[in-house]
Symmetry: C2
Subunit: 234 residues, 2 copies
């Protein structure tokens, strides 16, 4: 079909753009079918057919349904990053940055709430490559932790230096807790999740400032030691 | 079969004992089959057959597979209570009570670790009646919260009076976090979970004592307000 003379592995820009378009088409079709028919019930064959591409072509872009979900995670991650770029460039207050990033994350995920509720049981299985803690999810996870690192590093927050090193990952863990709450949240428009964010952010902000108090030093050390000991994979 | 002349609804002690035995037999058979063949794949018909009872009889004791799991929760709850009775009667130190209760809870659940990992996806689905947060799970949940109330009330711990009211439920929530960690824990003998408990208990103990510090009063109020606002079901 294409007349580009590019070598395999170094496609020309036109072909690359078209490839990206096909990839997006397959991903969007898959997500629609997952929502409509359920994740377990939707096969790669059906996805290819609905997207109007050959099955082999679909497999060229995504090795399996799991890879489609990883593609979904990556895309959401990009959207989350884009939705917070302006805020993170302009705002210096830690709490305002954190609040903005969390609400933007919920905004980005909102269209997928009903899908998330049914899909959750697949991702939640401990051995699933789709778990947010899996090796396979590490690119999306690292990208998400990087946003929280930005929240902290671009802010004027003053805090204990050892806590500073750990905080981005702790914030990400807290964010996973918010996402878990959101998946379970049946209130209209998931407003309980919005309330959780609005209530948790000033609290986190306060605790971060308190980390410099001498009276809290032992408790803080204890928290950091606990994190370290639990993280050890043995 | 039985010659007891008891009215329906008020069986004699012999018949009640035999009923309890049959109930236990069905429950244990079901748990074994769930472990061996998986939860989704095991039908009530197969359970009845393996237990050597009529299908109608199995349904007499358990309306559905979900009820079997609720029966499993209730039984684990009882075992957890029994395993901690002596400790809670003798020990007065808050941290020692909490540590003992958490380790005993893991001991009781240990034989079901591999089952828990595969079963988790069913219980984790937000709409599932088997979720620990569901209305259907409230007897087992209330029994578990009662253990943590005992941990606190029978101890010599001194803490902020408002925190005292909320702490049993907070400890239970923390316990759900430990169970979640345990489900995911692939270390030999789940020793990471044991480490988590050993590290978290002194930390909780310290934070509980710190709750009386004036400098932390505003943060504590903020935590209690947040819990309250998030709990509101609207």
């Amino acid at each position: 079909m294409t007349t580009a003379a590019a070598e395999p592995g170094s496609p020309g820009p036109v072909r690359r753009a078209r490839g990206e378009q096909t990839r997006q088409l397959i991903l969007e079709t898959a997500l629609r079918l997952f929502r409509e028919r359920g994740y377990a019930e939707t096969t790669m064959r059906v996805i290819a057919k609905e997207a109007g591409v050959a099955v082999g072509n679909a497999y060229y872009y995504f090795d399996s349904k799991e890879h489609l979900i990883q593609g979904f995670y990556d895309r959401n991650q990009n959207e989350h990053r884009l939705a917070t770029t302006a805020l993170l460039a302009d705002e210096k207050d830690f709490a305002a940055r954190l609040r903005g990033v969390m609400h933007a994350g919920i905004d980005v995920n909102e269209p997928y709430h009903s899908f998330a509720a049914t899909f959750f049981k697949t991702a939640a299985e401990p051995s699933s490559p789709l778990s947010p803690f899996s090796r396979e999810s590490s690119p999306a996870r690292d990208a998400s932790i990087a946003i929280f690192r930005d929240v902290l590093e671009g802010s004027t927050a003053k805090l204990d230096p050892e806590l500073r090193k750990e905080l981005p990952e702790l914030l990400w863990l807290g964010w996973m807790g918010v996402i878990l709450f959101w998946v379970y949240d049946k209130s209209p428009g998931q407003r309980r999740t919005r309330r959780l964010i609005d209530g948790a952010v000033p609290l986190i902000d306060r605790l971060v400032s308190l980390s410099r108090l001498r009276v809290l030093r032992p408790a803080l050390r204890q928290i950091l030691t606990l994190i370290d000991s639990v993280r050890r994979d043995d």
